[in-house]
Amino acid sequence: MAGVQVANVSRSFGAHRALDDVSIDFADGGFYALLGPSGSGKTTLLRQIAGFDFPDAGSIAIGGESVERVPVEKRRIGMVFQNYALFPNMSVADNVAFGLSVRGEPKATIAMEVQRALDLVQLGKLGGRRPHQLSGGQRQRVALARAIVTKPRVLLLDEPLGALDKALRVDMQIELKRIQREIGITTIFVTHDQEEALTMSDRIGILRDGRLVQEGSPEEIYDRPQSEFAATFLGDANIFRGDATGSGIKLPDGTTIAASTGASVPAGAKASCAVRPERIRISPGAAKPDQATANTLTGQISKRIFAGNNSTYFVDRDGQTLKVIVQNTGAERLAEGQPVVLNWSPDSTVLIAAELGEPRGQISGMLSRKITCSRGW
């Protein structure tokens, strides 16, 4: 087992920079999710680590050793492909045995190891089947068994759950996590799915246009996103844009928003604030209360979506639509068209320095997230 160090890796295809100076340290034994919209370079990064493709610049080390001159088959990695890539001409057991048999292990050892790996993924009885006789979830587990039976140092997974339906996906997430814990292997997991990234991984790296946007634990990224993109790509966020005041921002209409987390931005510079929809309290009322605390806004509910355990309110305010999520505690529900007061604490507000080249229009967080997601599918 070993960690993976990616240092200043760049890779271009023609004029297109698929990876742009990416540096990530994948800790030994960790479960790492690479998250990003389609075309952001996730697969490209994985292929550099696997050795199917080579960086134009930068270096990659596995277990502290540079792998620049090490061909794929000597890197001792396990890879699960998005389409599983099972050998259709071999039985399930032969698929799993492949890695051991090319190494020339004795037959008895192979049989034992294969059975153990199949038992681990709970497919002990299906060794004699052909891949086309398996369900999607079973194929995925065979691919996993095949990848781990050789005891690789690093496990690379490229959207392995992408083709599964929701229920199976959740089952597989739990199982994958269990297996990963059991064998304690360094795992790099590529996904489109922010929820998957949040629930499964110890650390998350967000890629965008070939650049690493942010890297950290799920809590760090969710609670303290460093860019509007990170805020809206991982979870929902309401974004306010204005001029920094030192302790928050001032919106164009004069409203101030206080923030006590996030970056420190010099007063006067352009900046944004991000607020998670579940951190906002919503109450009926047309005007701000007299002793208005910080971060109080008024608006009107334009839409309500009831989702059982919670309700989402879309509140129109000064040309911007804010999203508020309220847990279903049995309290009175608010109606569409009703005027409301919104309020949240400065602790729940993250200050973000304006990114260069970021559009300055009043796009709400949800909207830009929707755009990135639709590109993803």
Partner: protein, 289 residues
């Protein structure tokens, strides 16, 4: 494959009949009728032309077994078929691999065109151009002597190698095409999966790529072996006196000796032998594929 066939048969043949009909009608008229006439001829003592007397006989078939010449020639034709097929695999498979897995875009199209060009040229023209290349004082001879500092004599014309060269040239496109189709259908991620599991390029070739492209190899081999065993044009023109094979003997019966009954009988014996070989090979090949 097997389960696709099962699905097809479960749905029944009936809806497929209108689709099959034109092909079967054509096959009946163009192949079955003349072929049955030939079967008929093969049992006759003489052609019923110009009012000659004739009767039914098994003598034409007996001739094959009574004269060792015919079976000797058949054996050398089978050997020719085997050798040509092997050369087509050796030359065609790597070419198909490069076309399917290495080249992309325009260069692939260009090379593809070069490979199937022999298909589009007239067979006779093709053979005679080989004759010009291979004979003494021909293109190959002259070119080599122009380059090499010492004098060598290249006269491949009217030899067994010349026959092989001509036949391989004519038939290698079949191998390239059938192998190209199966190789192209192999997902690149299978190759990468093999490598990631610790297999070298060579191991991936033997354990993944070749087994998966076996159907193409077999189809190509069958398409080449069968006509080569009965071939007569290349052996006659490029082989000269050494070019006497089973196919040329059959041709002689039809165009030179006018012993159609014997020619027909020899053809059907060849057909039977080829079918027996394919039937014997089928289980082995099916296991390999």
């Amino acid at each position: 494959m097997a389960d696709q066939l099962a699905i097809g048969s479960r749905r029944g043949l009936k809806p497929a009949l209108p689709l099959l009909l034109p092909a079967y009608l054509w096959l009946t008229v163009a192949i079955f009728l003349p072929l049955s006439a030939m079967v008929f001829f093969s049992f006759m003592t003489d052609l019923p032309l110009a009012g000659k007397e004739w009767s039914f006989t098994l003598g034409n078939y007996a001739a094959f077994f009574s004269q060792s010449l015919y079976s000797t020639l058949l054996l050398s034709s089978l050997r020719l078929g085997l050798e040509v097929t092997l050369w087509c695999v050796v030359i065609g498979y790597p070419a198909a691999y490069v076309l399917a897995k290495v080249l992309k875009g325009r260069s692939r199209e260009a090379i593809f065109l070069l490979v199937i060009l022999p298909f589009w040229s007239n067979g006779l023209v093709r053979i005679f151009s080989w004759a010009m290349v291979l004979r003494e004082g021909g293109i190959l001879d002259t070119a080599l002597n122009a380059v090499l500092p010492f004098k060598i004599n290249i006269d491949l014309m009217y030899s067994y190698p010349a026959v092989i060269i001509g036949l391989v040239h004519s038939y290698v496109p079949y191998m390239v095409l059938t192998c190209y189709l199966t190789l192209q259908a192999i997902d690149d991620s299978l190759i990468e999966a093999g490598r990631s599991l610790g297999a070298s390029r060579r191991q991936v070739l033997w354990r993944v790529i070749i087994p998966l492209s076996m159907p193409g190899l077999i189809a190509g081999a069958a398409l080449i072996f069968v006509p080569v065993v009965g071939s007569f044009m290349e052996p006659r023109i490029l082989g000269g006196r050494t070019g006497t094979f089973y196919g040329t003997v059959i041709e002689d019966q039809f165009v030179a000796v006018f012993n159609w009954p014997l020619g027909a009988a020899l053809s059907f014996i060849l057909l039977a032998v080829v079918l027996i070989i394919l039937a014997l090979a089928a289980p082995v090949l099916r296991r390999a594929a």
